[in-house]
Symmetry: none
Subunit: 394 residues, 2 copies
């Protein structure tokens, strides 16, 4: 079963609003096993909207139109759908009463314009959920279906979750379930990771039980998404667990976490488990490390603080160790961490930085070359340093 | 002139990544007067990519394909474009050498896969900017043009700004020029700002010389964009200068800067002009202030550092002053700044924070209530504190 998404609104094309609705809908469709092979943005123009929706309907079983259901003259999604259905517009008294109620509830006079929202294509069904003044519509065209939902994200989501996804699922006759898990990795390039797992991926493709996708995500590392389709939740979870175990064996400690875990959350959890506290010396990273970690530990119970200051006289691994120890001793924690750059970057390979972890009984330092301009290097340096600490704690 | 945007990548359809690239490109096209009437997302599938790009090319003068230029087997944008051009793929030795160099610079072995990125359609021109291993391409099809740029946002932007937008503008033959200036404001809500400027905006709409748009941008404040279209650069600039002067008179010191200026850059410039140095005490803001300022002053010549630590015993304006003075004295600067939150937020109105500036001869503190959840409050607190310093320096 295929379902396309058409996002309506000139403001989307002009970049005044980013179309996050289509992404969210795409994710929901994938999770119930419905293919969404095209997603299109189109402006508030009758002819182009009609052509776009007709084309989507031709190559798919259903279309979700998002936006253009408001009260103003440029909100024409209802009229365009009526033309495609080959029907007239009719006033829906129940919707009109609902809209009047909403305005009365707010104690505001209703602009006459708003009743336009109660004019719907003859033969369309109203979606039960209606959190705002825009009604959602289910508009049959032959054996296919156009769903019209508002562009306001929370209104759209309520209708999708309350009606549209279930209706699509019922129409698809699909009984299998789809689960996925994200494996978070650090330290591999995308192609190197793909090469390491290539044989495995090929075997998987043949078995057809699960799929693996790679997603390079900058300072979030490379995400490996394992997706399984099966007859039950338990069966899907079992396939994923087996896959994850195989990948874990292949790439080992390059895996720092799963799903919503981040490098910061993983390191904080490890420190908390071991009842250890940490402080950071920041020169190159200028406070980025502290800002990321304190977002998760705002009361600074585990990460107890940072000293942000220019790099000192030693600009090598020893300098990084000195900065880590200084932060640890100044703030009074068990562990100190620091990453510094050379005073004269020309004297080293591009992107060279020195990272250090000062544990209670030993120091550990590492020199790495990071890619990109300074702003990216700074972010990479933070994760590199946290990864060094993570491996020391493991 | 019309230019469509085709965003390539199955991960976009699955909602794993939100397509911000098309929005950004749409905004840039609008600013140079080029219509972008459709924007499409399509997965990594040869047949669907080919059909989508062909259709875009049919109804527009140019197409920008974004993504699918990576080194892995599912990156097939190059091959699809070659088919549409009706040409073979050829190895570009200059690109191959460039890719090898990038890997050598990082001291990493180059996976053989990566050389796929040097295979380009015969007859395509390389875009000069190449910040990563993915080359940007200009691929003529008859008298139309397909531009291929990477999906990595910063690589895409560098190529768009360095080459593609200029090439499109040249091809469009447009002789009138469009200029715009962004007025950066802080301290107004969007509707309050719009109300203050309402009469003025109505007059403008009638004159037709310039347009004004408001853009609420969170911690960037509210941007007021003035756009003018005229026969010459000088004429457009004159219209804008007159507009900006009128707005300046209406909203005064709520304006902190223009165009690419940020609150940080404005404050740093003011300090630099006055040969003053500053240090920050961060508890509530946990390093965010330092990370934002050191991005502009990485050697810490003006902003000489920060102390990130939990809030002390005094959690009021006096506590903020104490933290500002402590940072100033510990790091040895002319000025100290700090913003703290109450230890018990329940005892104060929601979002209450205390900001302070400790100058060499006087202290200044302010209590404000900031909106939103903690992460937004932290960011707002940084800008509130910098704005307090900005007004003191003015």
């Amino acid at each position: 079963m295929r379902c396309e998404v058409v996002a309506v609104g000139t403001e989307l094309l002009l970049g005044q609003i980013v179309d996050t609705n289509s992404s969210w809908i795409g994710e929901q469709l994938a999770l119930i096993g419905i293919d969404s092979l095209h997603q299109v943005k189109v402006g508030d123009n009758f002819g182009r909207m009609e052509a776009t929706i007709r084309q989507a309907l031709e190559r798919s079983d259903a279309v979700i139109c998002c936006g253009g259901l408001g009260p103003t003259q440029d909100d024409i999604t209802r009229e365009v759908i009526a033309k495609i259905m080959g029907v007239e517009m009719v006033r829906d008294d129940a919707i009109a009463a609902h809209i009047r109620n909403i305005f009365e509830g707010r104690g505001r006079p209703m602009p006459e314009n708003n009743l336009r929202q109660a004019d719907v294509p003859d033969g369309a069904n109203t979606i039960e959920q209606m959190p705002g003044t825009a009604p959602g519509l289910m508009c049959p065209v032959g054996d296919k279906m156009i769903y019209a939902v508002p562009g306001v994200p929370h209104e759209m989501r309520e209708m999708m979750e309350g009606t549209v996804l279930q209706d699509l699922r019922r129409r698809s006759g699909e009984t299998s379930v789809i689960h996925s898990r994200v494996i978070r990795t650090w330290g591999y390039g995308e192609s190197a990771l793909a090469e390491t797992l290539a044989d495995h991926v090929n075997t998987l493709d043949e078995s057809g039980h699960a799929t693996i996708a790679f997603q390079a995500s900058g300072i979030e590392g490379i995400k490996v998404r394992v997706t399984a389709k099966a007859e039950s939740h338990d069966a899907a979870e079992a396939i994923i667990a087996a896959e994850v175990e195989l990948i874990r064996k292949a790439i080992g400690d390059h895996i720092f976490g799963y799903d919503d875990e981040t490098m910061e959350s993983v390191v904080l959890d490890a420190l908390r488990d071991r009842r250890l506290t940490v402080a950071a010396g920041e020169s190159l990273t200028g406070g980025i490390l502290a800002s990321r970690i304190t977002a998760l530990d705002p009361a600074m119970k585990v990460f107890k603080g940072a000293v942000v200051s220019p790099v000192g006289d030693l600009d090598d691994e020893d300098g990084a160790v000195a900065a880590a120890r200084a932060a640890r001793d100044a703030i009074g924690t068990d562990i100190g961490i620091a990453v510094i750059g050379p005073r004269d970057p020309e004297a080293h390979p591009p992107g060279t930085v020195f990272a250090a972890v000062a544990l209670p009984d030993s120091d550990h330092a590492k020199t790495v070359a990071l890619p990109g301009v300074l702003s990216r290097m700074r972010s990479y340096a933070v994760i590199t340093l946290l990864d060094l600490l993570r491996k020391r704690l493991a």
